[in-house]
């Protein structure tokens, strides 16, 4: 398509129609126009408003004053009203830690699962994939609340452990870190499995045999010839889990308890409970910058858009 474009500058033959720049613009306006307008009005504008809000000041009664200030970001960075106060910084560290551990656990679980899936006959592979898609599209709130039931001190899941003697009776893991991580991995694992599976399915297995013929041992052949081939799927999965998991709200809220106060909790608190919108907005802006950085990095590391859109199941 590119080579034809060069013949007449700005003109091209596409889908059997000769079209110039104005033709493209005119058709884009009618076709993409409504979508662009909608996304501008209801995605770009709210994000712009929240960015603006993060630089606003608050009056003595907590009302928002339209005065430009960096105070909200300074507060997040540890400059509290009574000297150094790292509590907001700790929220970031904790969130990134939760996101990171979730991502690692999902990678470790998704790899063997993906290798298992591609070893199945085609029909069963489709079933296995559908079995991943169902939890992926099931409401996170329901699944999280089910973990509350399962992980309760006298709940279904812990009773066997108590009977065997691995756990003390009455000892509980919910609410707490362990319950939080179980809920997080259960929620995000399908998002990792789909792109990793797509990559594993495309592996050229003969390169492993070639490596073996050239004298590599089994392990080297696997790590140097097979694993690099699934890097695109792995990258897509990591980005698809790490970014949203860092800002997860429902799971820390229901399974974590007070010790696992993360970004999601902080946002809910500032927006719904204390109504400190500028501070909440500053949290959002940090999160947005984090996501934008992750996406840009991912764009740099991938060759084309198809590699970046793994969720097109």
């Amino acid at each position: 398509m590119k080579s034809r474009n060069k013949k007449f500058k700005g003109w091209s033959v596409e889908h059997g129609v000769m079209m110039g720049r104005r033709g493209h613009l005119w058709r884009s306006m009618w076709l993409s126009g409504p979508g662009i307008a909608w996304m501008t009005l209801l995605l770009v504008c709210p994000l712009a408003v929240i960015t603006w809000m993060s630089f606003m000041d608050r009056g003595p009664n907590g009302e928002i004053v339209a005065r430009f200030t960096f105070d909200n970001f300074a507060l997040l960075g540890g400059k509290g009203p009574f000297g150094y106060d790292p509590s907001h910084l700790e929220v970031f560290v904790r969130s990134i830690f939760v996101g990171g551990v979730t991502t690692c656990a999902c990678v470790l679980a998704a790899l063997p699962l993906a290798f298992f899936m591609v070893a199945l006959p085609n029909r069963l592979q489709r079933v296995a994939l559908i079995m991943i898609a169902i939890p992926l599209w099931t409401n996170v709130l329901f699944r999280t609340y089910a973990w509350q039931i399962l992980l309760a001190p006298d709940g279904l899941l812990l009773t066997p452990f108590v009977k065997v003697g691995l756990m003390e009776p009455g000892q509980h893991i919910y609410p707490g870190w362990r319950a939080l991580m179980i809920g997080m991995v259960g929620c995000y694992l399908p998002f990792m499995v789909v792109p990793v599976y797509t990559s594993v399915k495309q592996i050229d297995w003969t390169s492993g045999d070639i490596a073996r013929d050239l004298g590599a041992d089994k392990m080297t052949a696997f790590t140097n010839a097979i694993l690099p081939q699934i890097q695109p799927g792995l990258m897509a999965g990591i980005i698809f889990v790490f970014l949203p998991a860092t800002g997860q709200f429902v799971i820390p809220n229901l399974l974590g308890g007070g010790k696992t106060f993360v970004l999601g909790n902080a946002l809910e608190q500032e927006f719904v409970v204390t109504h400190n919108w500028p501070l909440g907005a500053a949290y959002s802006v940090f999160m947005l910058a984090f996501v934008a950085a992750g996406l840009l990095l991912h764009t740099r590391m991938t060759r084309n858009r198809q590699e970046r859109e793994p969720m097109v199941l």
């Binding site: 979508g35 063997p112 709130l141 429902v250």
Partner: protein, 266 residues
């Protein structure tokens, strides 16, 4: 490849159990005759009977379905046009717009939810528009759904490229005929899959709904969330099971449509 099965098989079985355990707990307990506890006391449909006598639960179910259907319908129309337009035609700033199109999938939903909450509240305070309720929820959900429909439709069109249409043009088919006989059939599975995914996305959402809902537009997840706070949730398992069943059914249909593509493709 087969030799890995001995190691990966048990791991995979464990992972599937892990993924389905929470769903099973809710579904099984909705048929459990026990009250207020989670020991199996025998099969019983009483929670479904109480559900259909419970006004609040029924209105939440109705709200959820109205929200999902309306938003999915709007998003399917706008998203299909957008996917087709992005696949075919150029405009300045297309790359930047593409970036924004991907944002809702990666931005944590609570960031999107609080941005929309702030935006709607300011609009109401400054201009008197948009009281929180079904309208704000639909606006918010469509914003999440448009990218998914557009991306799926565009991906569908990209599989085939433009060779079929060029062939038809060479053979003398008019633009309308080409669109009707080639483009539409190529796009159709993508449109159906995108629309259904938009519908499930809406049913699966909780955070954005919570932040944009009004007093009269409580959906099932919001109701469940409030009941979790008050402790008594046993009777809501039936309601959750209905939503899970609808989501699962749509997810299966979508997966069947989308995976059949692979077989035509290769």
């Amino acid at each position: 490849m087969k030799k890995y099965l001995a190691i990966t098989g048990p791991i995979a079985a464990g992972i599937y159990c892990f993924l389905y355990l929470p769903i099973l707990v809710i579904v099984l307990n909705s048929f459990n005759s026990a009250r207020g506890e989670y020991e199996w006391k025998g099969f019983d449909l009483r929670w479904y009977r109480t559900l259909f006598a419970d006004e609040a639960a029924l209105s939440a179910l109705q709200n959820s379905l109205v929200l999902a259907t309306t938003s999915a319908a709007i998003a399917t129309v706008i998203g299909t046009l957008l996917g087709y337009g992005l696949n075919r035609y150029r405009f300045p700033g297309k790359r930047t717009f593409n970036g924004f199109l991907h944002l809702p999938a990666y931005v944590p939903d609570i960031v999107l939810a609080s941005a929309l909450l702030l935006f709607f509240t300011l609009l109401r305070q400054r201009a008197g528009w948009l009281a929180p309720g079904m309208t704000t929820m639909i606006l918010a959900h469509v914003t999440m759904q448009i990218p998914i429909v557009a991306i799926i439709v565009r991906a569908r069109l990209e599989i085939w490229g433009d060779s079929y249409e060029e062939a038809a043009a060479d053979l003398g088919a008019s633009p309308t005929k080409r669109f009707r006989m080639i483009t539409v059939p190529l796009m159709k599975p993508g449109v159906i899959a995108g629309g259904l995914l938009a519908f499930t996305l809406s049913l699966g959402d909780f955070v954005v709904s919570l932040f944009t809902a009004g007093p009269g537009s409580k959906t099932v997840p919001i109701l469940v969330y409030q009941k979790i706070g008050s402790g008594h949730t046993n009777d809501l398992n039936a309601l959750s099971t209905l939503i899970i069943a609808i989501s699962a059914l749509t997810a299966i249909i979508v997966a069947l449509i989308q995976s059949s593509r692979r077989y035509q493709d290769t």
